[in-house]
Symmetry: C2
Subunit: 527 residues, 2 copies
Amino acid sequence: MSDVDGEGKPLSKKALKKLEKKEKKENEKKQKETERAAKEAAEVTEDYGTENYGKLKLNQSQERTGKTRIADINASRAGETVSIRARVYTSRSKSAKLAFFVFRQQVSTIQGVLAVNETNISKAFVKFAANVPAESIVIVEGIINKTTEAITGTTVSDAELHIKKFYVVSETIGRLPFSLEDASRSEEEFKKDEAQYSRVALETRLNSRVVDLRTLANQGIFRIQSGVCQLFREFLLSKFFIEIHTPKLLGAASEGGANVFKVQYFKGEAYLAQSPQLYKQMCICSDFERVFEIAPVFRAEDSNTHRHMTEFVGLDLEMAFEEHYHEVLEILQELLVFVFNGLKNRFSSEIEAVKKQYPSTNFEFLQKTLRLEFKDAVKLLRENNVEIEDLEDFSTEKEKTLGRLVKEKYNTDFYIVDKFPLGVRPFYTMPDPNDDKYSNSFDFFMRGQEILSGGQRVHDPVFLEERAKSNGVEISTIQPYIDSFKRGVPPHAGGGIGLERVVMLYLNLDDIRRSSLFPRDPKRLDP
Amino acid sequence: MSDVDGEGKPLSKKALKKLEKKEKKENEKKQKETERAAKEAAEVTEDYGTENYGKLKLNQSQERTGKTRIADINASRAGETVSIRARVYTSRSKSAKLAFFVFRQQVSTIQGVLAVNETNISKAFVKFAANVPAESIVIVEGIINKTTEAITGTTVSDAELHIKKFYVVSETIGRLPFSLEDASRSEEEFKKDEAQYSRVALETRLNSRVVDLRTLANQGIFRIQSGVCQLFREFLLSKFFIEIHTPKLLGAASEGGANVFKVQYFKGEAYLAQSPQLYKQMCICSDFERVFEIAPVFRAEDSNTHRHMTEFVGLDLEMAFEEHYHEVLEILQELLVFVFNGLKNRFSSEIEAVKKQYPSTNFEFLQKTLRLEFKDAVKLLRENNVEIEDLEDFSTEKEKTLGRLVKEKYNTDFYIVDKFPLGVRPFYTMPDPNDDKYSNSFDFFMRGQEILSGGQRVHDPVFLEERAKSNGVEISTIQPYIDSFKRGVPPHAGGGIGLERVVMLYLNLDDIRRSSLFPRDPKRLDP
């Protein structure tokens, strides 16, 4: 058996036996402890109903019954007894006889009330429950109660749970690095009273990412990220694209070798792909005609800014066209509008959850995307007193200024700049047939920052080699790439989108790390 | 502008000017050559209609008109003039006055006839067209003609094209490494007459993969591969899973450090992920509850077999369950049946195309998947005189024997073995609560080979550490992993599927490299 999900080494029989003994002993010990704790509790106060609370045995898949989702609870089900498994989000004991809880399942929360009675809820029970640390996972059984007033702090606002049973499934150990309440606090709250609250720094969050990711905003961000991928594929599959998987381990450092990670490959060396560029084009040479890929991309760039990572997810596509690269540009344009419409329609509650913590203006876009030529963009900048040369690339600053000017003039956060100067594009970019100072290439922008770069590629091998040479690219490093075009290839164009960047700019987040589950930068490889 | 799809360095202005000049010169030269070639052709024979054939200028997106797809052509459109862009698959000149062609677009082919006439098709035209090398891309204009007999060698069987115009878009340069006809030949043909045909070896194919991938079988294989991913996601999204992207660059070599690729990471080191195991579990700790990922997986295993690669695509999922890991097992089981049904219903023509070249029996599966416990599998093997210990893992040979026995007894190529011995599974596998010589883990098999490995994970941090130690795993290398479980985590289970393996076994291919676009093994990093 050579297994697939990285499962490790088997145990020797001797080690196994030893382990079995140890485990048995351990289990007996645990069982005894639980019993003792219950007994102690009973001794401290007059206790009864001890079967209704406590720590559960380790779940080893002993039994199967059934649980209710918090999202499915509402006042119409009042009187029903339900059992939920959820986290203890917050708990407050009002007295020795009364405690309030908020329980959380992903993005749903409900209030729970635990009050002493004379039959099955003792003071010891209330004390036990109130002492369960925040973020522990519990199973709670209770009766749904319709509330007289709407509850404001929870997502279930017309009902609460009158707790009857309370068991711990998985208890948090040690002090949490920060409270979920602090990590969830909105900028609005800080504005109101900066001194009262402690702000959780991004680094602190990333160091304890598994806790940080539980905030409603993060639950929203990564559902939106999943949604972008889903919408991207949905659209392209409907346009007869096929999904490809190209290698990330390469035999040669492509495109000159700058910013490439080197890998020890048995007795030799390999390099990590900086993009699927060459391979997706080879797929066009192989007659797949329309291909896309969603995969990690690696950049050994020693940049420590809010918008650089050493590993990110590329949404790439490449497409053979019949006559004009605008066939591809139009597909890309339609694709992005499809994604934006889809997010708006299918992920509105997630977007709201993110905005609650990170307020931002709505992302504005036109159903028919604004397309400027590079020349027009330069003109617009100059009209607004920005100095720029005819064939000069946009600096980050100028990009942002352009974004502001476009927003003012056209009321859109999304637009395309077409026909970039040839000199600022990579060697494989096709020159404009009418003016070879320019090229058949484009960038897409969101809120004044580039999210997609693409264009028509040179598909003639002789011309391609010529262009590579004059760009100082070592031909030997791209020989297989050039050779592919010697087997006949249709004209084609394509582009690449940075997933995290789209999510960051759509939600107007201040750092790209916030839209990556476990971000990587020159200083961070953990967790 | 920091671009996303790996575009390279800009040119200096001086280099740009120089280049412009050079290009202009080059273009003029090319134009002159084309004109001279046409003139020469006209001199050789009495030529006319020279505007109807020739090499086209480089497509730089000059104009936009419209083209027809071969798949859309049939006898009902007889008399219509259409223009197609396609590859020259084969050409035969019958005489100086008549030539036959087969044109190909992906998986569609059509016959073309070019015959001299007195107005616009000269002998020079026929000669020019017949000399265009195979695999070149051409634009052909012609009249659809209903054929009196069905044509057997092409996918369009009731119509052919009477060619009027013939232009070369992209010509193949040099000798092809093998002919597409040879590369497409079926095992059946070889059986009939082994001596007549030359077999194209796998290595030869892989060395010129962009040509090899054009065979109908390969066009089928990679559409099926794309289909598997599509069906995998479709099912899981409908079950409220979300898609995640976990890092491939890790700070520590997980699981003991064997078979891990080392990366030079600025001044330090990083390691390539052998699986998303730890990270998908952290996502469960983060309350995402149900997650999946499709991403590359790297294994530094120096195995040169037909079923090992150093990079492959993992289809991974992880899911919190309420009470029993069979909740997850059942989702996985339903998932695979959904994928197999989907392939059968949506990709039947692709499956047929592959089978034509690589004959195989249909992949048989039950709508309710057969599930054996490990003990039962051992029993079945023993009943058939295979010697095996109670707690011994299956060797590849025994796996295959089991597959054969199951097929005979239950008529299925797909089944599950549940409850593997604890000692043969990785440290993080949950022991069976009833018999801790066994575990809550399973493998899925296709045609007697494992394609999925999974199980319930130990979610208790104390017990996990204990299990890791007794398996000889260095705790310091997995500390962040263990620590995640200290923040409260629901019981969970998951599994990983090898994409290429599923495709290989579904189609019964003889080597995993045939189901990878650009396979990687210890000896191959190119193309």
